[in-house]
Structure formats: C-alpha cells, structure tokens
C-alpha cells in the first residue's frame, strides 16, 4: 500500500514523462487543466499509466471528477485501500 506522498511522487513521474513538466511542479492543489495545462488526451494517458503503476481502476466517469492532483492522489489512495 502506497502512502499519499508515494502516490504523489509516482504521479509526478507519470506527468513528467507525458508532458515534460518538472516533477516538483506537480503539487496536490494544482489543477490538471488550468495549472499544468494538460489536455484531455494527455489526461487519459496519465490515467492509463496511473492504473498500471498503482494497480487500480479509474472508471471513465470518474476521470472528469479528478480536477486537481490531490483529487487523483485521494482517489488512487481510496481505490487501493
């Protein structure tokens, strides 16, 4: 079971690989679209890679609720529990 800090670090790595954004720019309160400028296709790529990395399932209808990095970390953490 990964801690929230570990999930955040893993997510930052995935975002970095997809967008080239520095991992330290990926903070809990950052919005994927507004702050990190991540488009819908990149978001799906990040979701798919996060599912693989954390062994969770993030349904399509859930993706639109993941507005901030924190939303994603909390969802993954809950899904792992």
């Amino acid at each position: 079971m990964a801690s929230n800090e570990e999930i955040l670090a893993g997510l930052a790595e995935i975002v970095n690989e997809e967008t080239g954004l520095a991992p330290e720019a990926v903070e809990m309160d950052k919005s994927f679209t507004e702050d990190l400028d991540i488009d819908s296709i990149s978001m799906m790529t990040i979701v798919v890679n996060a599912e693989e990395k954390f062994g969770v399932r993030i349904p399509d209808e859930e993706v639109k609720n993941l507005k901030t990095v924190g939303d994603a970390v909390n969802f993954i953490s809950g899904a792992q529990a």
């Binding site: 488009d39 819908s40 296709i41 799906m44 790529t45 979701v47 798919v48 599912e51 399509d60 993706v63």
Partner: protein
C-alpha cells in the same frame, strides 16, 4: 451399401501477402480548411492528432472506384490475373448500399467473376478481419488467391461542424492479394470484439430513424417548405465518437492485443522491421509504441500525418507507403493491428510483400 468417402479441399500449409496496392484520392483537406468548420487551429489539431492533411475523394469518386484502383495495383504487384481470384473481400463501412455488396461490383469490374465476393463490416479493424478470413480461405484450400481491400469514403458520413471525429477522417483504399506460400507468411490472428462499447463510436442515428424523421418533416409541411427539407437533410446519419473512452481502450487494451499477436507469432519486438497500427491518431500510435517497448530498429508507420484516419484503408495504405519509401523492408516482419467501432480489433504479424 457402403458410405461414400467425402472429398475435402486439399490444404495449403502456409499463406502470405503476395502483392499490395493503394489508391489515394486527390482532394487535399488542410487543417486550415477544417478550421472553417470548427473553432480550432492548425497547431491544436497537429498537437492532439498529428494530422496535417487528409486526402478526400471528389463527389463522383465512389468506394468501389477507389477499391478498383488499389486492387489493380495489388494484382499487378502479385503477378496474377483477376480471373485467378478465388474470393474478393471488401472491408468497408461507407459503401452506401446495404445491398448489393461493393465486393460483387468490384469483382465484376476487375474480371474476377464468378469469384465469391462479400463485404466485411468491421470498421477500422476491417482490413485485419479480411486478412484473417483470407488466410483461413487460402490455407484451408477453399481459395488459392484472395483479394482483400480496405476502402472508405468517410467524407460521405461526416458532419464538418462536429468535433469528436469528423476532422480526423480521410478517404482512400488499400488492397492486398493473399496466396499460398512455401514458408509462413501470416501469423495466427488475434481478433475479437467488445460490444459492451457499441456506443463508443458510431452513427448519430439509424437509417430507419432518419427515414421516419424525414417523412415527418415532409408531412408537416406538404408544400415542401425549404427550411424543413434542409432540416430533414441534416437528419442523415453521421459518425461521432466518445474520444476519451476510445483513446483509453486503444492505448490500454490494444497494446495487450498487439503483444499477444507477437507471442502467438512466436517472435519478439526485436524481430520486427515495421509496426503498422491503424492510423487513428498519432498520440495513440506513440503510446502503443511506448507500451510495446518497440526498439528503434522498428520502422513505425505514420501515414496519418498526410492521410488522416481512413478506417479500413489505413493499414494497407500505410504499409504501401512504408514499402515505397523503404523497399528494403520487403520480406521483413510487420506487426499490424486494427481497432475501431464495434468495438472490434484484429492483429497479425505478416511478412511484407
């Protein structure tokens, strides 16, 4: 009375692609053209799809016309006459008649009559479905040579103002001749469907709904009010997709299918000379390449940049181009995978002609 012994067709041990042909229609639609119809930009479209232009067919060029152009080149490349064909298969979702088939007309035009002829409705997986069928027909001895054509005139089923898929689509046709071989030339097909995602890509309405709505519009104004008639014309079914669902399925599930095709072929990614995925979106192609961990020695088909997404035609068109630009790939192994509306998918490893 003794039971007579039934005769069955003698089998061919192996099959392979013997010739390939392509037809690219000559109307070029740029991203600037597309931006007249949707609020977008060249940069946005390139970034999200990798598409720079699409080829589209003029009004008087039909699916059968394009199929014929590609088929003639494939027959010539294979070095066989149309009269030697044991079956003609056309994969298409844009032949505008529910019946008769495009394949029957094509067979007649080519001089392949009375070869059996039929269409396959498997959207962007149609070409790989066709290869699966042709491979089985040739190896079972049911046919010696089979023509497989992927031909689409998607410009007939788009709504230019629609933002989910129309701007991706192009027209064209690609064809191959499959015949017997002394060495293995087509790996076991990994193919299937997932009808639980039937709604993910498809038409806005059925032909019957369009007919009923159109009749209602006419009846509501027997005088033939032009505005009503225009409205009725807009009822014609056009294509749309749920892009996010399709993207995720394509990247995640299709990488597994492609990997399975490699395993079933008894090879690894290092053995490939080329990867020819359905040309749906450059971002999907890039993600699949990453997921499959393809080595740099593998040439990746990226025909989509100029051709757009041509559904069943995209794999043979992209293969044709690869061979034209890199003749040394001939004889090497290519992994091909088609996936699309249904949802349906199909993949094989083939020896390039």
């Amino acid at each position: 009375m003794s039971t007579p012994t039934l005769r069955q067709a003698p089998v061919n041990q192996y099959s392979r692609i013997q010739g390939i042909g392509a037809f690219r229609p000559d109307v070029i639609v740029t991203n600037e053209d597309v931006c007249q119809w949707i609020d977008s930009s060249d940069e946005w479209i390139r970034q999200r799809t990798g598409i720079i232009t699409r080829h589209r067919a003029a009004a008087d060029v039909s699916v059968i016309d394009m199929a014929e152009g590609a088929a003639r080149e494939a027959l010539e490349h294979a070095g066989i006459e149309a009269s030697q064909l044991g079956a003609v298969i056309v994969s298409t979702v844009t032949h505008p008649y529910a019946t008769p088939s495009a394949a029957a007309a094509l067979a007649d035009r080519l001089g392949a009559t009375p070869a059996p002829a039929f269409d396959i409705s498997a959207a962007c997986a149609g070409y790989c479905y066709g290869i699966a069928q042709a491979d089985a027909l040739v190896r079972s001895g049911t046919a010696t040579y089979v023509l497989v054509v992927g031909a689409e005139k998607l410009s007939d089923v788009i709504d230019n103002r629609e933002r989910t898929i129309s701007f991706l689509l192009g027209d064209g046709a690609g064809a191959v001749v499959i015949g017997p071989s002394e060495t293995p030339g087509i790996s076991p097909s990994v193919w299937g469907s997932d009808g639980s995602k039937w709604d993910a890509i498809g038409m806005t309405r059925s032909q019957l709904d369009a007919r009923d709505l159109s009749l209602a519009a006419r009846q509501s104004d027997a005088s033939g009010d032009l505005a009503l008639l225009e409205e009725a014309q807009e009822l014609y079914p056009t294509i749309r997709q749920d892009g996010q669902t399709v993207f995720r399925w394509a990247v995640w599930e299709m990488a597994k299918v492609a990997q399975q095709a490699l395993e079933d072929a008894g090879i690894t990614a290092e053995d490939l000379v080329a990867f020819v995925p359905h040309q749906a979106n450059m971002r999907i192609i890039d993600e699949m390449v990453k997921k499959l961990k393809l080595p740099e020695s593998v040439t990746i088909a990226r025909d989509i940049a100029d051709a757009g997404n041509t559904s069943a035609a995209s794999i043979p068109l992209a293969t044709h181009r690869l061979l034209k630009e890199n003749p040394s790939l001939s004889g090497g192994l290519a992994l091909q995978i088609g996936f699309g509306a249904g949802l349906v998918f199909g993949a094989q490893v083939v020896v390039l002609p």
